[in-house]
């Protein structure tokens, strides 16, 4: 069924790539994940080894070891074609390049630590190719790929700028003590020439070598075809590069003395590294990319690699793992480990996201949904996209579009402006808090951010209300607004409840002033300090003005107290003002019937905030002036009750709408209309009359009419529609039934289950499915 109705016949999107179900690939995926975890382990291990083994020696041993094993497995000399001289030269070139790439990679490892190396260096080729094609060509593959590339770049920048790795500063103190060969010295001078710190230099180095690696892999593809398979090439390559490195290693071991006391203790870790990094990963990758598509392979592999890297980075230096490691590593090392900082975590998340986006196969064309069939029998597709399906849209265009939509209508515009104001205030507060290092301000700012969520919800609902009806949501999205009002009201209820409980407990055993500020009381923490509370109060007052305007349609002017706001001391008296005005606005709102539940929810939220700040100001005043400690809980009790009472009508109305009640404001007219319908000529009776409000401006209704057998149905339908439209129903469907039909249907509906059973039986008998011969 899925294939039949949602496949895209016109643009043929399904023809290109066939997704194999995951269940068949489970063992390959498991294999991949295991190999990636082992690889992460190996990289961590090799970082430890590299602390006392020279990098060239290290690579030489790796290449030699893998060459021995691969020669044993692949037997490149005894099987396959004979390699010509020209190919040998190419092989040598290839080996030199691969040596350089792995040198750079492992050098980056010594600089950046294993986790960062994993994050930067171990990307699948597919990902990098997609990234490069986005960056340097025009046909990047749509906005989603651009997003992925942006994420990638953000991740790299995160690593560069926000990664406070204090080991780096430690290493910066003795930069000359660490590197001991011409090569490393050269690289260090190059990095310092670039003018960046060691660690940042490592990041740059790793990114560069990542691109080099990918380019190298792409270039080597032709050679691997010539040689006869990538496995054979790999085996030969490791052998040749080991031979290339041999003279250098001999030179090194002659000129410098080794830091290693016994090579014997290193056999196990080396074997482990060789097995996991060089061999296992290569084979598993080869198998998996043969069985799955490369993108999916890359997605799972990257995910496994990064997450295991993160875990290992967390636990590598832990005492528990130290016990395990001590058998392989001589415990003489001073622990100079790279720490796990917030920047790394953030960038790891970004890397994961970007690689999953970049590795995703690019979809050409949209998916059409079947709407129906034309009378000629050709299928009709809907390319609008359903509500939750338009994922791949350009982000900037999306933002401008939605901004335009927001500013189009007064409701959403007001919410938006107020949200901006609120956010600006919050950010000023946060900034100030960070600047002066005051924890109170910062937490206050976060509380305000949380408060903004109600506004965001309201804004979103106001936007979504205007979406067009889709096939799935056939009545449109008007109900979002009611739902949002409901949710807002519900949360206000919860908050009021908590404030109430808190104030009751404080009433019962009043705490001294010092501890009461530490309470998690909503009001206290929100408006604990007077300047902030006055500021918040001003913001909220503006909001109340704006929203009550929306309710009373400009009949009331709020400008009367807009002039003296600059005086901090006057804040108190204004508080009183705002309060009374607020309740006015509310009264208006409920008098006009409160068509828009969403706006009412937002308004109530702002009102509650204002009440809270007013209450805090009043209670502080009372406490300071008269020393009435009891004023605080009583105030909050009072406010909680007020919030509670003002939310109840909203909740009740929203509940009624959601429960499909007949709209109360139309009830009388509807009853009158029904009576008139019964008196129409030819109408016998009506049944199953349902009317309900779907959204603010849509009342839906359905009705069954029984008519005499000799009247014209069309006329009846028109009359009934007109009558009910006068009563306010604007989405009506009338079913006109003549007597015979009514008898038939009453038989049908009395035994629904029997009918169902009957039809199922008929289905099993394979009746002609065009539906014309059921009767």
């Amino acid at each position: 069924m899925e294939e039949k109705y949602s496949s895209n016949v016109l643009s043929g999107g399904k023809l290109g790539m066939v997704e194999v179900p995951d269940s068949r690939l489970t063992k390959y995926i498991a294999l991949l994940v295991v190999s990636k975890v082992l690889k992460a382990l190996g990289v961590f291990e090799s970082y430890d080894i590299l602390k006392f083994v020279h990098i060239v020696q290290f690579i030489f041993i790796l290449k030699l070891g893998s060459a021995v094993i691969l020669l044993f497995f692949q037997k490149p000399f005894s099987s396959g074609k004979i390699i010509s001289k020209r190919q040998w030269i190419k092989l040598v070139k290839h080996a030199v390049f691969s040596c350089v790439v792995s040198l750079l990679g492992f050098f980056g490892l010594t600089l950046c630590g294993p986790l960062r190396t994993l994050l930067l260096f171990e990307h699948a080729d597919v990902v990098v190719v997609a990234l490069l094609s986005v960056l340097f060509t025009n046909s990047g593959g749509g906005p989603s790929k651009t997003r992925g590339a942006a994420l990638f770049i953000i991740a790299v920048i995160c690593l560069l700028l926000f990664d406070n790795d204090d080991l780096m500063s430690k290493m910066g103190d003795h930069p000359e003590g660490h590197h001991d060969s011409a090569l490393t010295h050269f690289l260090y001078t190059a990095i310092s020439f670039l003018g960046v710190a060691d660690h940042k230099g490592g990041v740059v180095l790793l990114v560069a070598s990542l691109f080099l690696k990918v380019g190298f892999h792409t270039a080597a593809r032709k050679l691997s075809v010539e040689i006869g398979g990538s496995k054979r090439l790999y085996a030969l390559d490791s052998l040749v590069s080991a031979m290339v490195l041999l003279p250098w290693v001999i030179f090194l071991s002659v000129t410098t003395e080794s830091k290693v006391e016994s090579w014997a203790s290193l056999v196990f870790p080396f074997g482990m590294v060789i097995f996991s990094v060089m061999i296992l990963e290569f084979y598993v990758d080869a198998v998996c990319s043969a069985k799955m598509e490369a993108p999916r392979c890359a997605r799972y592999g990257t995910f496994a690699l990064f997450s295991s890297g993160l875990l290992l980075a967390n636990f590598w230096t832990h005492p528990l793992t130290d016990q395990i490691r001590s058998m392989s590593i001589p415990p003489k090392l001073v622990s100079t480990e790279h720490v796990l900082s917030g920047g790394v975590m953030v960038s790891a998340v970004f890397f994961l996201m970007s690689s999953s986006i970049l590795a995703a196969p690019s979809k050409k064309g949209q998916k059409g949904t079947l709407v129906g069939y034309s009378p000629e029998g050709t299928p009709l597709y809907n390319f609008m996209g359903d509500a939750l399906q338009h994922t791949s849209q350009s982000l900037p265009r999306f933002i401008t579009d939605s901004l335009k939509q927001i500013l189009e209508e007064s409701d959403s515009r007001q919410i938006f402006y107020f949200l901006c104001l609120n956010l600006a205030f919050t950010f000023v507060e946060l900034f100030n808090g960070v600047w002066t290092n005051s924890l109170g301000l910062i937490s206050d700012g976060f509380h305000m951010l949380f408060d903004c969520s109600a506004l965001v919800l309201g804004l979103f609902a106001a936007l979504m209300t205007r979406w067009k009806a889709t096939r799935i949501f056939s009545y449109g999205f008007g109900r979002v607004e009611i739902l949002s009002g409901f949710i807002n009201g519900l949360f206000l209820m919860v908050i009021a409840f908590f404030v109430f409980m808190e104030s009751v407990t404080r009433l019962l055993d009043p705490l001294p002033e010092q501890t009461s500020t530490q309470d998690m009381s909503w009001l206290r923490s929100r408006f604990g300090r007077t300047p902030v509370s006055v500021g918040g109060l001003l913001v909220n007052l503006v909001g109340i003005c704006a929203f009550s305007h929306a309710h009373s349609h400009g009949s009331k002017s709020c400008s009367s107290h807009d002039h003296g706001h600059s005086h901090g001391e006057h804040g108190h008296s204004h508080g009183g003002h705002g309060h009374s005005h607020g309740s006015h606005g509310h009264a208006h709102g409920s008098l006009t019937g409160g068509m828009n539940a969403n706006m009412r929810g937002v308004f109530l939220h702002v009102l509650a905030d204002t009440l809270g700040s007013v209450g805090v100001i009043i209670s502080t005043l009372l406490i300071r002036q008269f020393g009435w400690l009891i004023a605080d809980p009583i105030c909050s009790l009072f406010i909680a009750t007020l919030i509670f009472l003002s939310v109840i009508p909203l909740l009740k109305e929203a509940c009624e709408v959601l429960l499909l009640r007949t709209p109360p404001e139309h009830e009388k007219e509807l009853n009158g209309a029904l009576e008139k319908i019964d008196k129409l000529e030819g109408v016998l009776s009506h049944r199953d009359a349902h009317f309900w409000r779907h959204s603010a401006n849509m009342v839906a209704g359905t009705i069954h009419l029984q008519v005499m057998s000799d009247v014209v149905e069309q006329r009846i339908t028109q009359q009934v529609t007109a009558l009910l439209k006068d009563a306010g129903v604007n989405n009506l469907s009338v079913q006109v039934e003549k007597e015979a039909y009514f008898q038939h249907m009453s038989g049908l509906s009395s035994g629904f289950h029997e009918v169902l059973a009957m039809t199922q039986q008929m289905e099993s008998m394979k009746y002609p499915s065009d539906g014309t011969c059921i009767m």
Binding site: Y5, I472, F473, T662, W692, Q735
Partner: protein, 362 residues
């Protein structure tokens, strides 16, 4: 002319009798299995909370008192579920022409919302604690949570099985907070059993939903999720306490709570999505694929020109309602078309169908 309504003026509603009403509610609660189980579970919970409260007042321990208040708050979810299951069986009247069956969807929605809210707070607290781990003092309270969590989950398992022995429950309720290991394993059991007892008969059948005999899965799902969340919370507390005591992994506590919050969040999402879909009159997902076929068959009927404005939506679990308009030829047999259309959609599972037949202008 017979004076049919002569006594209408004298008729007064029966005096508000609290006792009568209460007994009526009680009977309607006990009349059905789901609400009965919910009610018993609620009673157990409440009695436990009361015992805790009185004990707390007796010994003047603030921790116990606040804990019992927490439990009262937890009870609200159950209460909401119970109220919904009673309300959804009220008869339909003039104002609520569909009856109150949607109350169950609403209850599920509210429960889901609260759970999301809770999960969010747990998560933010976990982050806070991960960034700056507090001293050991804060753990006494969470231990208490674990303690009552296990009683929850236990009751859950027994309540849904229908053989809840009072004594059994009480002995567990009386468990002191120390024996975490027990509670943990039992909690897991309760959770496992629960999925079996979760399939209830679908809500009211036929065209008159008032004659309901089973409340739907939304309530149960919501309540179940709530209880599972509690159980998970206690399990997480126990595990993290173990980890902290044995291995001194202080990071385990925030990580555990974050994981649990994520789990709760993820498990609530389907419930929320479903109930929001129903509340927004979404086309029922189960009909998504059968409807196009039905449209096609209707359009192939003789004399039908076009099919317009099809609206299909869910009233409550498994009750689907649809309206559509047909544009037919002037000489078509409308009666036949009407019954054919009804037949076609009844087979697809649509209980109430309103077909408006418009004749095309010549």
């Amino acid at each position: 002319m017979l004076p049919l309504s002569i006594k209408d003026d004298e008729y007064k509603p029966a005096k508000f009798n609290l006792l009568l009403k209460l007994s009526g509610w009680f009977r309607s609660i006990l009349a059905e299995k789901t609400s009965r189980n919910l009610f018993f579970f609620l009673c157990l919970n409440l009695s436990f909370a009361f015992v805790e409260l009185t004990y707390g007042i007796w010994t003047n321990s603030l921790g116990l008192i606040s804990d019992s208040f927490h439990m009262f708050f937890d009870c609200t979810a159950l209460l909401a579920g119970l109220a919904a299951s009673v309300i959804s069986r009220w008869r339909s009247n003039d104002s609520f022409s569909y009856g109150y069956v949607r109350a169950e969807v609403l209850a599920g929605f509210v429960n889901g919302l609260f759970l999301i809210f809770t999960a969010f707070f747990i998560f933010s607290e976990g982050i806070e604690r991960a960034l700056e781990p507090p001293d050991h003092g804060g753990h006494g309270h969470s231990h208490g949570d674990g303690g009552h969590g296990h009683s929850h989950s236990l009751f859950n398992g027994s309540a849904h099985h229908g053989h809840s022995h009072g004594g059994h429950g009480h002995s567990h309720g009386g468990h002191s907070h120390d024996e975490h290991g027990h509670g943990h394993s039992h909690g897991g059991h309760g959770h496992g059993h629960d999925h079996g007892g979760h399939q209830e008969p679908p809500c009211s059948n036929d065209l008159h939903p008032a004659a309901g005999k089973g409340s739907s899965k939304q309530i149960l799902q919501g309540v179940l999720l709530h209880i599972i969340a509690d159980t998970l919370g206690s399990v997480g507390v126990i595990i993290s306490a173990l980890l902290m005591q044995k291995y001194d992994l202080m990071i385990a506590d925030p990580i555990c709570s974050m994981l649990i919050a994520l789990l709760i969040g993820v498990s609530v999402v389907p419930l929320l999505k479903e109930s929001i879909g129903i509340l927004m009159q979404r086309t029922p997902p189960s009909l998504d694929h059968t409807l196009p076929e039905c449209y096609q068959r209707v359009q192939q009927l003789q004399g039908v020109y076009n099919l317009q404005e099809p609206h299909f939506w869910t009233l409550c679990t498994d009750v689907y309602i649809g309206t559509l308009k047909l544009l037919v030829a002037p000489d078509a047999d409308t009666r036949w078309i009407l019954s054919q259309t009804h037949n076609i959609f009844t087979q697809a599972g649509v209980r109430q169908l309103y077909v408006q037949i418009d004749t095309a202008a010549m």
